[in-house]
């Protein structure tokens, strides 16, 4: 917080609260679509890293999706690794640098469609890292195709009539599966579709990093984010689509937590 030259009422001063752009960004510009939820999730990660004072030992391992645009702008050491393989790459990093704070950033297409094996085994091994899933239920980067987490009935460019379980199967609730793993110390699901849920989600992300700092095991936060472009809804309709289509399939809350 800092005093500014913003005009204030008599006898008062204007105090800046938070930052327009999150900390640790080399530029606040990004080319993601209007109404995208990913930048909101990325903001929280960066704020948490700063608040926990772990920036100078923090390493991000990112997969491929729209969020990967931030790999070039976050002021965090980053490996932009192969599609789906971030948890494996992060395992190698963390095992070599046990005192570092290693976190992965993946989308549902990257983590659950392409890289289900990596996330499952990394969680099962109880790797002491923090995995963030930005789940918008669609391949946004390629223009709106079905992922393993697209919900039943969801219209995508390759499920034009909606995801039909008879043909395309059912979505994979990855966090729920991981929450059964003894190696997982913390598993939670949040959302950024309104300010209240975003505030809660930041707390979940903070907890996930606190578990890594404590070394208690694998920490996982799924963040539901809006993709109005890939959902074919107006930007302002993104939060509503999220809460009516995604949230019933992926309920919010803490799914597992062990003692730190």
């Amino acid at each position: 917080m800092s005093t500014t030259d913003i005009e204030a009422p008599p006898g008062k001063r204007a105090v800046r609260v938070g930052h327009a752009a999150p900390p640790l960004m080399q530029t606040e510009e990004h080319h993601l679509c209007p109404g995208c939820g990913h930048p909101v999730g990325v903001r929280m990660i960066l704020e948490v890293l700063e608040e926990l004072g772990v920036v100078d030992r923090s390493i991000c391992v990112a997969g491929h999706g729209c969020y990967a645009t931030f790999t070039a702008t976050i002021d965090i050491e980053t490996i932009l690794t192969l599609h789906g393989r971030a948890p494996a790459t992060a395992t190698g990093v963390k095992r070599m640098l046990p005192d570092s704070i290693v976190w992965t950033m993946q989308g549902d297409g990257d983590m659950v469609s392409e890289g289900l094996a990596e996330i499952m085994h990394t969680a099962a091994r109880g790797e002491r890292l923090t995995a963030i899933l930005l789940n918008n239920g669609v391949f946004g980067d390629t223009g709106g195709q079905m992922t393993a987490m697209s919900v039943v009935g969801q219209r995508t460019k390759n499920t034009l009539e909606g995801r039909d379980p008879g043909n395309h199967g059912f979505p994979i609730p990855v966090a729920d599966i991981i929450s059964r793993f003894p190696g997982a110390a913390f598993v939670a699901r949040g959302s950024v579709h309104n300010a209240a849920e975003a505030t809660k989600t930041k707390r979940l992300i903070r907890r996930a990093f606190e578990h890594q700092i404590a070394g208690s095991g694998f920490a996982f936060v799924e963040v539901l984010t809006m993709c109005p472009t890939g959902w074919f809804v107006p930007t302002a309709g993104g939060p509503d689509y999220l809460s009516t289509a995604l949230e019933p399939v992926y309920p919010l809350g803490i799914l597992r937590e062990v003692e730190r």
Partner: protein, 359 residues
């Protein structure tokens, strides 16, 4: 000298540790399984980490992550498993991540995969093919050095015989020249928050504050230039009796050792035959091969596959004088290098090739 009786896989694991290996991750597949077992036993004892990966892809991606921290890392499998690693090998090569990959091949049907690769992009991998366990011990250490020197991927192409033969061998740490400092690129988190956080990516473009002027084309061209340089400077081979040979036999790896033995014997008997053994399969020692075979009337390629290295041989030697005298030579279990790999059989095939010369 400290000779120890070791299985080839154990010797290669000890050589890797002698070279400073800190991380190994692998997935079982015969005949590379013994190497994984040896690493799992020996690497943790040396203070390093060995993880049993759950797929070959996971194995190499873990190793890539470990290598990105500046530590020496490796993975390994056999041809089928290494096929799964191809995308990652390309990624490591183009992101300039030093990595060693053990390909414990089945027969010699991994030549094309190891030397040409199946990954995306303009990259190569340095491939060393030892003829026996003592040479593998040297090659493993050399590969770690070359991988660091050039920030590239080094592949050790061995086989069932090397991996599973017990020999008395001295795994002495080798010394090499100085290496470039890794500080510029290795990750440890310390550059986070400085405004110049490091960025490890196969596009090599830097972050917003550290953009490389040439962009992605600049990076990929620089990487390609590096491989051209390696191709010009790092070829290795062994040759003998080629000066006056009417027939030069070309073979690599264990097959090269058999050819060396048989040709030496035939020489003693007065036959004008020589041998040439590429040690680096990539870069292929083509110019040396052209020189060594310039005076020969025929060049015979003995390789245990349907004809893979011969594609490289004929890039440098007139196709008209090259013949294939090897072939697919598998056991019923598909692992070993088969019945063709017997000195008598090798001798018969070379003698047949000589008959063509004398016709």
């Amino acid at each position: 000298m400290a000779m120890k009786l070791l299985e080839g896989s154990e010797a290669m694991a000890e050589a890797a540790i002698a070279a400073g290996l800190r991380f190994y991750s692998g997935y079982p597949m015969s005949p590379s399984t013994n190497l994984l077992e040896a690493m799992a036993n020996k690497v943790p004892q040396s203070g390093g980490v060995c993880i049993n990966a759950d797929t070959e892809i996971e194995g190499i991606m873990m190793a890539l992550g470990a290598a990105a921290t500046g530590n020496r890392a490796a993975t390994g499998s056999t041809g089928g498993g290494c096929a799964l690693m191809q995308e990652a090998i390309a990624e490591a090569a183009i992101s300039e991540t030093p990595l060693v990959v053990f390909t414990i091949g089945r027969a010699q049907q991994d030549y094309r995969q190891a030397t040409k690769g199946g990954g995306w992009g303009d990259y190569n991998t340095i491939v060393l093919a030892p003829k026996d366990v003592p040479e593998a011990v040297e090659h493993v250490q050399t590969l770690f050095h070359l991988a660091d020197k050039y920030r590239c991927v080094g592949i050790l192409l061995a086989d069932n015989i090397i991996a599973r033969t017990q020999v008395s061998v001295d795994v002495a740490p080798m010394t090499f020249g100085p290496l470039p400092d890794k500080e510029e690129w290795k990750l440890d988190g310390s550059s986070s928050g400085t405004g110049k956080a490091k960025f490890h990516w196969s596009w090599g473009v830097g972050k917003y504050n550290t953009r490389k002027p040439g962009g992605v084309n600049g990076h990929w061209n620089r990487v390609a230039d590096k491989f051209r340089h390696i191709a010009e400077t790092e070829t290795r081979w062994e040759e003998a009796y080629c000066e006056d040979a009417e027939l030069v036999v070309v073979a690599f790896g264990t097959a090269g050792k058999f050819v060396e033995y048989v040709v030496s014997e035939m020489r003693e008997a007065g036959t004008k035959v020589g041998y040439f053994r590429p040690i680096t399969l990539w870069p292929f020692p083509g110019e040396a091969l052209a020189r060594a075979t310039a005076g020969a009337r025929r060049v015979a390629v003995f390789e245990l596959n349907a004809g893979q290295m011969i594609e490289d041989v004929t890039r440098f030697v007139d196709r008209g004088k090259v013949s294939a005298i090897g072939g697919i030579s598998s056991d019923e279990d598909g692992l070993n290098i088969g019945r063709m790999m017997a000195a008598g059989e090798v001798r018969r095939r070379i003698a047949d090739a000589l008959k063509e010369v004398q016709q």
